[in-house]
């Protein structure tokens, strides 16, 4: 369980800042720090086993049918990354506490940061690649929040959006790639996938899978041509840049490459794509870094360049290269995170990050200068720092990797990269800190409080220690991680000195010399650079996005310009055309089912139905008449259900029909009585043809379906067989509703309740002062109405009927489990009985006598159903498991008691409440509209003038 717990800890920690921020900023930081330290400690507890070469695993079945399980693994690579994420995370939490301004909402910052940390930790601990994808997307989302943390800054918002678009888009490609990979390997667990190198590389789907996965990795790790989002993400607060954009998130892509290295690497296409992209990125970004002026921009491009370097190493595909990649991941994370934090310190102290306005800070900020010097020299690859170790290994690998039969190509290009790295590191250090002090700093430079430089100092100490004593400081971790990457035990020998015969030494020396020259010739080079026109990544991205937006808008406007009729017509034509194409190209075979003979009575009902449909369509302009005809249609359908062995449906249909007609009549009260003729003959013909084609298609489909037997055995026979023994009822429809598929019904009554509440809210919205309310008040009802509002016969009859109707409803409810009926029908019968009172005696009279709140009734229904469902937990069974038994009370026959009946009671209340609330809402509109409402119905004389 513990790996899952480790992955969960940062998420739990993310809940904390919202509370702890009330106790102050330090408490808030402390809370986040405690959770991070706890997770780090738990990882450390597993470290001995991992270093022995074991793979720690936690497996939790989630959706095994989909291959999605919460499986976690911790091996050497995971240990390295988890250590980086949590270790640097701790430092960042400390740094951010003192970096952020008093005005910045710190609780929000730590929440986002912990969310990100959890997502990142999840990536490196996932064994299941579907789970990994979930965390992958979470890092995109949480980094979006972090980059946009200063939401008042437009560049922060734009940068966040760009990062989300690029990394999120790559994430989509990655999902596809991982799904293909899982399909090839037959499992979504890394433990299985990593063993199937041959099968994966032999598969014809290897190339598409590889390209899609690389898209995901390259966007995340800012490789050319997707690198442009990273410099724009620098709008984030510096702790975020240090954490996400140097040490962790941008390394997620590299992690993925390393993780899948055993199965994907070693092929020609892998070498070309990965090493090629890496090399190109390394050189291109290093060159750009040289000519940037913003400290963070220099660091951002340098990061892109170093990420390219690691990608290049992973792309080589040899064991030595993979080891070098791992070493550089560690080295780069340490010096680059430190440099970012130090850039933030300079920004804080001098109020500018523009290197042209700096210079001469050496004496003014001695501590900062010292730390920057060490870190940037490590970046330049100067011994005895850790950047030198990994750079030497990189050059060594490049020198021994011939391309196109020539050993010099890669060696030269790699040396050029190292040279540029030297040049921009020197520039950063020299232009920023050396030289004469200036008099025009925007603020008086000074070293910050210890707490602010403590975090980068720890990292710089590591940079030095790893350089001086590589084996004891990092050798063990590199061995474990590289072992996990390559899938074989690795015994690295990390050392500063490899002897004179090592080509890397000479390449290194050359790079230093050339780098110094480049730095010395910076002015003329800069002038040259200024003259060249360069494509602007952001402009291209914005143009692309704008183009896509315009295209989407164009398509949408054509298909759906807001006109409902047009949209329906297009949708219907498309569906009919697609179905017609399918029918024309498919092989249709007539069914063999024995047809049901036609009898006379159903034929008459059918004739009435057809006539009513035709009438409703032809006469639809006369609205009341059309409504009556629709009522006839509903009635005939109900008759049809009764004939076709669906008594439950017949009961439901007929009761729903009644309330629907009442509802529509209430609505017609407000609407015009006639529909004017608006569409011309052509338009009517066109609509008729569209509708006719759809009708023909549906009829044909229905017929083709009914004249053949089901292709697969239906599951219904299980329900029929189990209805009595399993659910204790003989009405299979009812047992399905309240028992077998009770969960569906549960959802449905909630939907119905929500619909009723929506109706109530809509009516409320019309009753607030506004144009709708004015129209209601200006209405003059009663004109042309019958003189007697509450006919005495009607009133008396409905009052007499009320108890009878309720008794019938109760009966229908009680017998529902065994005979047609149940909560739905009973609720509707009750609703009709109540509606009759409203109709006959008026709203005022009814409302005064009925002290039931329909909202509460819906709520009661849902609560009863929920309580019934939850009750089965008490018996240790899943939600909504039903039970039943037989009870014998002496004068009565033996009868059955089922928990399903209780659930049905919930259905009953919900249906009754929902129907009544809907009708009542309409009636309220009528009341506002001037309908006479009185507390006493017919027994009080109406005022003469009404």
């Amino acid at each position: 369980m513990s790996l899952a717990l480790i992955a969960a800890l940062p998420f739990l920690g993310a809940l904390l800042p919202g509370l702890t921020i009330r106790a102050g900023r330090s408490a808030c930081a402390l809370g986040a720090g405690v959770f991070t330290a706890l997770a780090l400690g738990m990882v450390a507890l597993h470290a001995p086993a991992v270093l022995r070469g074991e793979v720690v695993q936690t497996r939790i079945d989630w959706l095994p049918a989909l291959g999605l399980n919460a499986n976690f693994r911790l091996d050497g690579l995971g240990l390295l990354f988890a250590g980086l994420i949590l270790g640097i995370g701790l430092l960042i939490i400390l740094y951010a506490r003192f970096y952020l301004d008093r005005a910045d909402p710190m609780g929000r910052f730590y929440t986002f940061l912990m969310l990100f940390q959890g997502a990142m930790l999840g990536i490196v601990l996932s064994d299941n690649i579907l789970l990994l994808l979930v965390f992958w997307e979470l890092t995109s989302l949480s980094s979006f929040l972090l980059i946009g943390y200063w939401r008042h800054l437009p560049e922060a918002r734009q940068g966040a959006r760009m990062a989300l678009a690029v990394t999120g888009g790559g994430g989509l490609a990655l999902i596809a790639g991982m799904l293909i990979l899982g399909r090839i390997a037959g499992s979504f667990d890394l433990s299985d996938i990593l063993t199937q190198r041959e099968a994966i590389q032999a598969s014809p789907l290897y190339l598409p899978a590889l390209i899609l996965i690389l898209l995901g990795a390259f966007t995340k790790s800012a490789q050319v041509p997707f690198h442009f989002w990273l410099p724009h993400a620098m709008a984030a607060p510096t702790p975020v840049s240090a954490y996400l954009h140097s040490a962790t998130m941008v390394k997620a892509g590299l992690f993925l490459l390393a993780r899948l290295w055993p199965v994907l690497s070693g092929t020609e296409v892998w070498f070309v794509l990965v090493a090629g992209t890496g090399l190109l990125t390394m050189l291109f970004a290093a060159k750009v870094a040289l000519f940037k002026d913003d400290l963070k921009a220099i660091l951002a491009y340098s990061t892109v360049s170093h990420l390219g370097l690691i990608t290049f190493l992973l792309g080589i595909g040899t064991k030595a290269a993979a080891v070098a990649a791992v070493v550089h991941i560690v080295a780069h994370a340490s010096f680059k995170a430190a440099l970012f934090m130090l850039a933030g310190i300079v920004d804080h102290a001098v109020h500018t990050r523009d290197i042209r306005r700096l210079g001469g800070l050496r004496r003014l900020m001695p501590v900062t200068f010292g730390l920057v010097a060490v870190a940037s020299l490590s970046m330049a690859g100067v011994p005895p720092l850790n950047g030198f170790l990994s750079k030497e290994m990189m050059l060594e690998v490049a020198a021994h990797t011939p391309v196109l039969g020539n050993a010099w190509i890669l060696a030269l290009l790699a040396t050029a990269g190292a040279m540029l790295s030297v040049a921009y590191s020197l520039r950063l250090l020299a232009h920023g800190f050396l030289g004469a002090e200036r008099g025009d700093y925007p603020a008086r430079p000074h070293d910050p409080v210890v707490a602010l430089w403590a975090a980068p100092a720890v990292l710089v100490a590591f940079v030095v220690a790893m350089g001086l004593w590589p084996m004891p400081v990092a050798g063990w971790l590199v061995d474990a991680a590289a072992g996990a990457v390559t899938g074989a035990a690795v015994q690295t020998h990390l050392a500063l000195w490899h002897g004179l015969q090592s080509p890397a030494l000479w390449m290194s020396l050359f790079a230093f010399g050339a780098g110094l020259l480049v730095y010395a010739a910076y002015r003329p080079l800069r002038d040259l650079w200024e003259m060249v026109v360069r494509p602007e990544g952001k402009a291209m991205f914005d143009a692309c996005l704008g183009g896509l937006g315009a295209m989407a808008q164009g398509i949408t406007a054509r298909l759906h310009d807001g006109a409902l009729t047009r949209f329906i017509a297009i949708a219907v034509v498309t569906i009919v055309a697609a179905a017609g194409y399918g029918f024309a190209t498919g092989g249709y075979v007539a069914g063999s089912r024995v047809l049901t003979p036609v009898e006379f009575a159903p034929l008459v009902a059918w004739g009435l139905l057809v006539a009513a449909i035709a009438g409703a369509v032809v006469l639809h302009r006369q609205r009341v008449l059309a409504l009556l005809l629709v009522g006839v249609i509903g009635l005939m359908i109900s008759v049809g259900f009764a004939y076709l062995a669906a008594p439950d449906l017949a009961l439901t249909q007929i009761t729903v029909e009644v309330v629907t007609v009442v509802l529509m009549l209430l609505a017609l009260n407000f609407l015009p009585a006639l529909t004017p003729v608006e569409s011309g003959a052509w338009r009517r013909w066109r609509d008729g043809v569209i509708a006719g084609a759809a009708g023909l298609g549906v009829a044909g489909l229905a017929y083709a379906l009914m004249i053949r037997d089901a292709a697969y055995p239906a599951i219904s026979w299980f329900h029929l067989a189990q209805s009595k023994p399993g659910a204790g009822g003989t009405n299979a429809v009812n047992t399905i509703i309240v028992d077998f598929r009770g969960y569906d019904t549960y959802g449905e009554i909630i939907v119905l309740g929500i619909a009723a509440l929506v109706i109530f809210a809509l009516a409320e919205a019309l009753l607030v002062p506004g144009p709708a309310n004015d129209r209601l008040l200006a209405r003059n009802p009663g004109e042309g109405d019958a003189g007697d509002v509450h006919p005495m016969m009607f009133v008396v009859a409905t009052r007499l009927m009320l108890p009878i109707a309720m008794m019938v409803g109760t009966y229908i409810f009680l017998r529902g489990h065994n005979l047609p009926g149940g909560g739905f029908v009973a609720g509707l019968v009750f609703a009709i009985a109540l509606v009759m009172q409203y109709l006959a005696s008026g709203q005022g009279w009814t409302q005064a006598r009925q002290r039931i709140d329909y909202h509460a009734m819906i709520g009661t229904g849902v609560l009863i159903a929920s309580a019934t469902g939850a009750g089965s937990w008490l018996a240790g069974r899943p939600f909504l498991t039903s039970n039943y038994g037989y009870v014998h009370l002496p004068p009565l026959e033996e009868f059955e008691l089922a928990t399903a009946a209780l659930f049905d009671l919930g259905v009953f209340f919900c249906v009754l409440g929902a129907v009544m609330l809907a009708l009542f809402s309409l009636a309220r509109l009528a009341q506002r509209g001037g309908d006479r409402v009185q507390a006493r119905a017919f027994d009080a004389p109406l005022p003469e003038d009404h």
Binding site: V572, H620, F641, F670, L671, G688, A756
Partner: protein
């Protein structure tokens, strides 16, 4: 019988779509009701026709019709009432707010 049911479904669909293509809210609502009928009967018909064989367990009965589509349709009928009521209220709201019951907010 199958042909009659199929024709009824087809007519309900055609009538429903024709009415939904009208420009005023009221016929659109009626059209939606007709289309709901059509869909409900279609789902019901997926259980095939078996007159006289209701899905009520009874030893004397020769067989049963498929109960599952019936259960689906039963709740669908009730839900479609809720849907109709919401749309009616929306249509009313739009008419009362603008004094116009056109679907597309003006002449096409």
């Amino acid at each position: 019988m199958e042909a009659l049911v199929a024709i009824a479904i087809g007519l309900l669909t055609a009538g429903g779509i024709y009415l939904m293509l009208r420009q005023r809210t009221y016929p659109v609502i009626l059209g939606l009701s007709l289309l709901s009928y059509a869909v409900n009967i279609f789902i019901f018909a997926a259980g095939r026709l078996a007159p006289g064989l209701p899905p009520i367990i009874d030893k004397a009965q020769a067989g049963y019709t498929d109960p599952l589509p019936q259960a689906l349709v039963l709740t669908a009928i009730v839900i479609s009432f809720g849907m109709t009521a919401v749309i009616v209220l929306m249509a009313l709201g739009s008419f009362l707010s603008s004094g116009d019951d056109r679907v597309d907010g003006g002449a096409e």
